[in-house]
């Protein structure tokens, strides 16, 4: 492919003319109408837009939970249309971490078991699984809650467990769907800080959000409206929740985190290679 000869690495995520139609009875409704996008490894991208604009659909497609009706979606240069359901599951498992608005932890299983769950599907042995889950929980500062049931945790703690679960497979990208949408302001600040730290360490972060700070902090803002995508380049539009009167704001003092400290960049490189290793595995399987 042309991109691959020009750039040494293809974009992590690339969409060309992505369209997603839903049939509602006799008629068809378009959630996405031919959007193009490209996200590089290590980027911090916010997706904003009013309810029903198609941003959730976009995130589902980015996360390989859904397939576009038309258009081409490349993940690490691989055309996902050529992958069967099992390969998509493998990619979700190795390369993508999900964070949901409502946490989606499995009750009846401890925080530790929840965090370790993706490793079960990755075929990691139990001992290593629990070790890695403990590390991941430690990273989000919840080592002391490892054996609690999710129902015994506060909302903020639950979301941090969910983040630990998303991190445990060392994915290339984290897709977050309104990660602070169900949290009070203090928990919300904790989760926000945590996500920014992780991104600064080199993780690719794509967040659907109404949260002003997340949008402010993002290096790029993609705005979805009526199934169309508008690039905002660090400018959050005025209709974001909690900021209806502020008007468009750039984020002074919060430079796009793509260009932070050199150490973070090095870590980003490491992650990139880990992510690609997972993808290489998939690509190998394909042949």
């Amino acid at each position: 492919m042309a991109e691959q000869t020009v750039a040494p690495q293809p974009p992590l995520i690339e969409g060309r003319g992505i369209t997603r139609l839903y049939s509602m009875g006799d008629s068809e409704v378009a959630a996405l109408r031919g959007v193009d996008f490209s996200i590089q490894m290590g980027e911090n991208v916010a997706i904003i837009g009013p309810s029903g604009s198609g941003k959730s659909t976009l995130l589902h497609i980015l996360g390989l939970l859904d397939r576009p009706t038309a258009g081409q979606y490349l993940f690490a240069g691989v055309d996902t249309d050529t992958l069967d359901d099992d390969r998509l599951a493998l990619l979700r498992n190795r390369a993508i971490g999900f964070i949901f608005q409502s946490f989606n932890l499995v009750s009846g299983e401890s925080a530790l078991e929840n965090v370790a769950a993706p490793l079960v599907y990755a075929g990691v042995k139990r001992k290593e699984r629990l070790e890695r889950a403990e590390e991941s929980l430690a990273r989000v500062g919840l080592s002391d809650r490892a054996h609690h049931d999710p129902s015994q945790l506060s909302g903020g703690q639950r979301q941090r467990v969910a983040i630990a679960r998303a991190l445990v497979t060392r994915p290339a990208v984290i897709l977050a769907d309104e990660p602070t949408g169900n949290l009070d302001s203090r928990s919300s600040a904790d989760v926000f800080t945590l996500l920014q730290e992780l991104q600064a360490e080199g993780l690719t972060l794509v967040t659907i959000t109404h949260d002003q700070r997340i949008a402010d902090r993002a290096a790029r803002v993609l705005r979805v409206e009526d199934g169309m995508l508008v690039e905002h380049d660090g400018v959050a539009p005025s209709y974001l929740d909690g900021a209806p009167t502020q008007g468009p704001t750039t984020a002074p003092g919060n430079p796009p985190t793509g260009a932070v400290v050199p150490a973070a960049e090095a870590a980003g490189q490491a992650r990139t290679s880990i992510g690609l290793a997972a993808l290489g595995l998939v690509a190998e399987d394909e042949q």
Binding site: D66, R92, F98, N104, G108, P118, Y121, R126
Partner: protein, 405 residues
């Protein structure tokens, strides 16, 4: 996901809702326990009836007088007077024959002991009857050669007859009873053989054939001759020998059909086995229905469980579960419930088999084959019942599932 992981997950899940798990399991428990118990009862019935027939005499071949044909109407077997005591004596000389007992039956004789009376069948026979028909003596003695030679009016009673006469074996020995008004002295009582359904071998009177002929029947022909074999494997050979002998003695033309017939114990056993197998299969059928109902319970619970866990399924798919991982998770859950139910059901079945048996008056005990059958059927039911809900779960669209409230 490895099988072990699926197992771990399923056990954890089942423990979060113990009451539901217990109730679902109960359906299987009842089905499996019924299978074990009813197969035990079925087998017990078969064994009891088989033993009863075997108790009538081992290696027994019964020669019956052939039916008479009068004016084109074929009479019942034994209605023609073709067998004689001399025939019996001739059969006794054949090779392979262990003992021969001529039998002269008199039905519906009235027996009176003091103020009590009963009605039964009297058999005039010889001492060989005891070995041919497998009678053991409980008190006193069986008929002797002397009593036959002399035509003595002595009688050996079956234990049921003794009870019917309001007496005990000890009290009736030496007593004089009357049979159709003719006095006989009781010299012995046989051991109970046990029996129900067929004619009761314990309700009987044995007297010397000579006495019966002189007092009741005259020199009429025998109805049956009991023949016991030295070796059951020689049955066909002995049968052909007897046929040839009797045809010769009865001077039958080669075109004439036999004026006698033979029934071996084997044939009786075969008929009885067929009958009891039918009974047993019927019982198994009832128990199988119970098990199927248990399976429907599992399928129902699993469907509810899938419905309740749609979001969990969506989440698992998002974090990398493949379809077969989800299928396995739910299938293993169903199989664990069935397996648990089967184990408890087998134990319960073993415990209640005896109770059910005694309730229907059959010596029932659980059989290994029954347990194995119940266990395997339960597993099949569990897999079948669990498969469909598991497949439904695995086919959920992850986007829909994550959105599900």
């Amino acid at each position: 996901m490895s099988f072990l992981e699926a197992l771990r997950l399923a056990v954890r899940r089942l423990r979060t809702n113990p009451l539901r798990t217990a109730l679902t399991t109960l359906g299987v428990v009842i089905g499996v326990a019924s299978l074990v118990a009813l197969i035990g009862v079925g087998e017990g019935t078969q064994t009891a009836i088989t033993n009863q027939i075997a108790g009538l005499g081992t290696n027994l071949l019964s020669v019956n007088a052939g039916s008479s044909t009068v004016g084109g109407v074929r009479g019942v077997a034994g209605s023609a007077s073709t067998l004689t005591v001399a025939d019996a004596a001739a059969i006794a000389t054949l090779p392979g024959v262990a003992a021969v007992a001529p039998e002269m039956s008199v039905s519906n004789v009235v027996v009176v002991n003091g103020r009590t009376n009963t009605t039964t069948t009297m058999t005039g026979t010889t001492p060989a009857e005891a070995s041919v028909r497998n009678y053991q003596i409980q008190t006193g003695a069986f008929l002797t050669d002397l009593s036959v030679t002399k035509g003595l009016r002595v009688a050996v009673l079956g234990p049921t007859t003794v009870t019917d006469l309001n007496a005990t074996p000890a009290s009736i020995i030496g007593q004089t009873i009357t049979i159709n008004g003719i006095p006989f002295t009781v010299i012995g009582v046989t051991q109970p053989k046990g029996g129900s359904g067929f004619t009761n071998p314990d309700d009987a009177i044995f007297a010397p054939i000579t006495a019966v002929q002189s007092r009741f029947t005259g020199a009429a022909a025998l109805r049956t001759i009991g023949v016991s074999l030295e070796d059951p494997s020689q049955l066909a050979y002995v049968e052909s020998q007897i046929t040839a002998l009797l045809r010769y003695r009865h001077e039958l033309a080669s075109s004439a059909s036999d004026d006698f017939s033979m029934v071996s114990q084997d044939q009786l056993l075969t008929v009885a086995s067929t009958t009891t197998a039918t009974i047993r299969n019927f019982l198994i059928g009832i128990a199988a229905i119970a098990l199927v109902v248990g399976g429907i319970g599992i399928a129902n619970t699993m469907l509810v469980s899938v419905r309740e866990r749609v979001r969990e399924i969506g989440t698992r798919k998002a974090i990398g579960a493949r379809r077969r991982d989800i299928t396995r998770q739910f299938l293993v859950e169903a199989v664990i419930v069935t397996l648990g139910g089967a184990v408890v059901g087998v134990l319960l079945g073993i415990a209640v088999t005896g109770l059910v048996g005694s309730a229907v008056n059959v010596p029932a005990s659980p059989t290994l084959a029954g347990i194995a059958l119940a266990f395997v059927s339960a597993l099949v039911v569990g897999v079948v019942a669990g498969y469909w809900p598991a497949r439904q779960a695995s086919r959920l669209d992850p986007v829909e599932a994550l959105r599900y409230e």
